[in-house]
Amino acid sequence: MAHVQLEEVWKYYGDIEAVRDLTLDCDDGKMLALLGPSGCGKSTTLKMIAGVEQVSRGNIFIGDRSVKDLTPGQRNIAMVFEDYALYPHLSVRENIAFPLKVRKAASRHIQTRVNDAIALLNLGDVADDNVKALSGGAQQRVSIGRALVRDPELLLFDEPLSHLDADQKVYLRGEIKRLQQTIGLTSILVTHDQIEAVAMSDKVAVMNEGMLEQVATPDELYERPANLFVANFIGEPPMNLMSAELSRKGHLLQLRGYGWSLLLNEVQSRCLEQSRGRNEITIGVRPEHLSVVSPGSILPGQSTPDGSITGRVYFRELRGDAEVLTVSIDHRTKGGVDWENPESSMVVETDGPSSITVGDELLLKLDTDRVCIFDSSNGANLLLPD
């Protein structure tokens, strides 16, 4: 397998810039996901790597070789499609053998390669069945087998799980990841589903409007999103975002919003020192970084301690082992939620099932060390080095 590199790649369709100045790496034997909303340029990027779209500017390397001017057939890339793209009249074995037969490989060689792929993908029981008779998940495994027999330098996955039922999706997600890791396939995955991207990939590139917003490991994306777009895009339920003002308190800095304040720690205060007085600030808090400290223990008129926020449960949902609470925090809405104003509520995730019910008054504690702080004007995460 080989290392893949995109260098300042652009794609124009007439006046439209579909991909803008994209520089990306995928290490040998790793999986890189391209993730983003529809129209972000992820599929166009995949097509340029595959060679079915021309690169308008910039260069693409597979190994040490520039492939920009090579045809798809010259690139030694295999692709797994959303809709499997199998030959419906052929058996599992014939589908997998197809690319080798076309290349007129020796029949002994074909047999060995195909048998290996069948074993690797647990297709032994259905090897001679017609592919039409198989479930979607098994068909997708056949299509992965067909991609692997050619011994490609790079494997491209284009939304490979989006047509599958939930249980098959979970199963095949694990199988692809295992295969990719155990045989060290250099792979690029395109998906709109963040769960798939983070579960399967070593690194995730988040794209938006043709540009790269951030490329990082799944943990980094989640813990240290580069900007408001990534913060808002990654995570379910979504990160709570609230506008705040920055002021000095002793040798530290403090954030204040409507009905709450948060004294920052030393590291955070140092990072934000230059931003003081200049920027509009947005604070981001993941739903699981809010803890319910004392249901029903707040007296009217009592002031809320620093690092806490009070509210009333507007909606409670059990999500299996977790419970998600939508809490009205703007006391002007009297326990209701103004959907036009996201800052009138916060979303809290706790272990479930709990005994909390709609209407309960809660005191929520923010996990100071894990909040994200953004510049509201350009969206940049102010706690990250430039």
């Binding site: 039922d165 694990g174 295992r178 155990t182 579960a199 943990d219 994306l221 379910e236 999500r319 082992d321």
Partner: protein, 368 residues
């Protein structure tokens, strides 16, 4: 509450030799949301179509408040039905589609033009569709069409709401918002609502009670907590949760006062609080132990005398990770919020941390 209610008994429907729905009995109180979940072909849409009167019933009663409507034509039932297929009028724009039930000669009252505009605008705002009123359905994405169908249901003043996969084609963020916003609205009306979804976690989220269907039969009816904590059988257990419960075959045995569940890959110590049930099953042929992924933790294999296996996959999701452990063919999913320090192929021990595992009979699959 004294609003309308729904009571169904013995509802049965076959298509040719296929029994789509087998003797369903169910009541939905006023202001209650009952979520219906199950895999495709379970009978969810059949329930909606029978209640709405779009299919004739083979057997059974459908009581809307005090009246059996099972043999009434659809137009007399006053049901607001959101179709999975949306069923938008292609020649009406978004506004006209949403307003259509209010302008219908069969609407249960006359609405002024202002009242219609207010109701439609309010629904468009809720579903983040402001500005789309003049578009035709052909100019909308799948998710936008779904929101129009949802709006058209929400503006009505019916006796009952039927929602067939109302939010399945929306992005995660909007789904999250609409679960809360739509549920609160439905609950506030004092009407009974039925919300169908193949997503079992969505059913737990939105239902005051949940019905799990499979093959046209009710597998369990209960509160979300009951269905999650004590699934009635392995069919339910395999459908509920993210990921769903692990089902491990093995036998119970007693050893120096402690109770163990023995699998070929090792034994798990189980609680003594359920000793009565367990005692009966000691030396029993085979049982199935239901283990929730969050109730398992990984242990260092060195010196571990319990259940052992090889790491099959590691999936990091940010706030938690899922590790699949292979036990010589049977696989266990372990869901943990701790940092995962294992690699594919490593040998690991697995420990059960709860006193609340669920036991199923191996023959019948029923909970014990």
């Amino acid at each position: 509450m004294d609003g309308p209610s729904l009571a169904i008994s013995g509802l049965t429907k076959s298509y040719g030799s296929t029994r789509a729905l087998d003797s369903l009995s169910l009541s939905v109180a006023s202001g209650e949301i009952v979520a219906v979940t199950g895999p495709s072909g379970a009978g969810k849409t059949t329930i909606c179509r029978l209640i709405a009167g779009l299919e004739s019933t083979d057997k059974g009663r459908i009581m809307l408040s005090d009246e059996d409507v099972a043999h009434q034509p659809a137009q007399f039932r006053n049901v607001a039905y959101m179709f999975e297929s949306y069923a938008l009028y292609p020649h009406f724009n978004v506004f006209e589609n949403i307003a259509s039930p209010l302008r219908s000669p069969r609407a249960n009252k006359r609405y002024s033009a202002d009242a219609i505009r207010n109701a439609v605008d309010d629904a468009l705002a809720l579903t983040e569709m402001i500005g789309f009123g003049h578009r035709l359905p052909s100019e909308l994405s799948g998710g936008q069409k779904q929101r129009v169908a949802l709006c058209r249901m929400l503006v009505q003043d019916p006796s009952l709401y039927l929602l067939d996969e109302p939010i399945s084609h929306l992005d995660a963020k909007l789904r999250h918002k609409l679960r809360g916003a739509v549920c609160r609205r439905l609950t506030a009306t004092d009407l009974p609502s039925i919300w169908c979804t193949p997503d079992a976690v969505e059913a737990l989220s939105v239902g005051d009670r949940v019905i799990v269907l499979s093959g046209g039969r009710v597998q369990q009816i209960g509160t979300p907590e009951q269905v999650f904590l004590r699934p009635a059988n392995i069919t339910v257990a395999k459908l509920i949760g993210d990921p769903s419960m692990n089902i491990l075959p093995g036998r119970f045995e007693e050893n120096s006062g402690a109770m163990y569940f023995r699998h070929d890959a090792g034994a798990i110590q189980v609680e003594k609080s359920r000793a009565v049930v367990l005692k009966q099953r000691v030396n029993h042929q085979e049982s199935l132990l239901g283990l929730r992924p969050t109730d398992l933790i990984l242990k260092c294999a060195d010196g571990w005398t319990g259940l052992k296996g090889q790491v099959y996959t590691v999936e990091p999701f940010g706030k938690y990770s899922i590790v699949t452990v292979d036990l010589g063919g049977d696989r266990l999913k372990v869901k943990t919020k701790e940092a995962v320090m294992v690699d594919v192929g490593d040998t690991v021990g697995v420990e059960l941390t709860t006193s609340d595992s669920v036991i199923f009979d191996a023959q019948t699959g029923e909970v014990q």
